[in-house]
Symmetry: C2
Subunit: 165 residues, 2 copies
């Protein structure tokens, strides 16, 4: 058990988890630094850390933290909080935010749909290719609705299992 002075947590175990889960996220297409930062937050007891804490735990420069956090904030995977009366900022991962971000490909889906619509128009609805694109488009439209309903079911399920937020 490797326990840094007074932390009350096994720093090495945390680090092992952070690196292994981050690696999975990277493999799924997330840039490395954002993946590491996000996972570190996920594995923190508070669910939030400061820039300095992140830099120290992950052994990266403030610049790297800054870049990773910018990415995560843009994609709604973390929120930034100001500690009142301090220059320090806390980066936070809320449980539901994480799920929503994962599914909230919504913006992405919308753009895909747009591109597909253009394709159908310019190739012609009656061509074989046009028909294939139409079907793909229909699938995405279907998805959109389904995902929404599914998230609602999750909220219910979650509350039953883990209790209110």
């Amino acid at each position: 058990m490797t326990e840094s002075a007074g932390s009350g947590r096994d720093a090495e175990a945390v680090s092992r988890f952070v690196e292994s889960f981050a690696a999975q996220l990277v493999e799924a297409g997330m840039p490395r630094m954002p993946a590491r930062v996000f996972t570190a937050l996920l594995a923190s007891d508070e669910g939030s850390m400061t820039s300095a804490e992140l830099g120290e735990q992950l052994r990266i420069s403030p610049a790297a933290v800054s870049g990773a956090v910018r990415y995560l904030a843009q994609t709604h995977m973390v929120s930034r909080e100001r500690e009142p009366g301090s220059r320090r900022e806390r980066y936070r991962v809320r449980g539901d935010q994480w799920y929503e971000a994962l599914t909230n490909r919504e913006a992405v889906l919308k753009r895909w749909e747009g591109a597909l619509r253009d394709g159908v128009t310019s190739l012609g609805v009656t061509t074989p290719a046009g028909r294939r694109l139409s079907e793909t488009l229909a699938f995405f439209e279907f998805l959109q609705g389904e995902v929404e309903a599914m998230m609602e079911r999750w909220r219910v399920h979650r509350e039953k299992t883990f209790g209110p937020e």
Copy 2:
């Protein structure tokens, strides 16, 4: 209307669609060449093309086609077909394959779940961080089941709208 001799299709329009949709896929994390090849197949009238056709349309080397196709086959986004009695191979995108591939993050989900389970164990179920990981894990397990049911609904919906395969 730019129409190459006898093709019966507006090559430039096809190309515009291919590049714009591929760009969206890239932005979502797919490597460039696979994205372009996949979209070219999606926009072809046959739903399939040979290596030579792909190389010509996309202006890339046979090596690039080979690499892209390998990626796409591994991720189950295209299938390879041998033309009987010929060395030529056709790469095909079947409608349902594309949908399944998109959702068939199944393998990915499994590995995420594994990493999360390890995390819960080593951080301890009773710690705040451990509880957060547990909840994330539960979400993925929930997802797994939902996606399956959803795809079944899509198949029904699809058949109603577009008729049998």
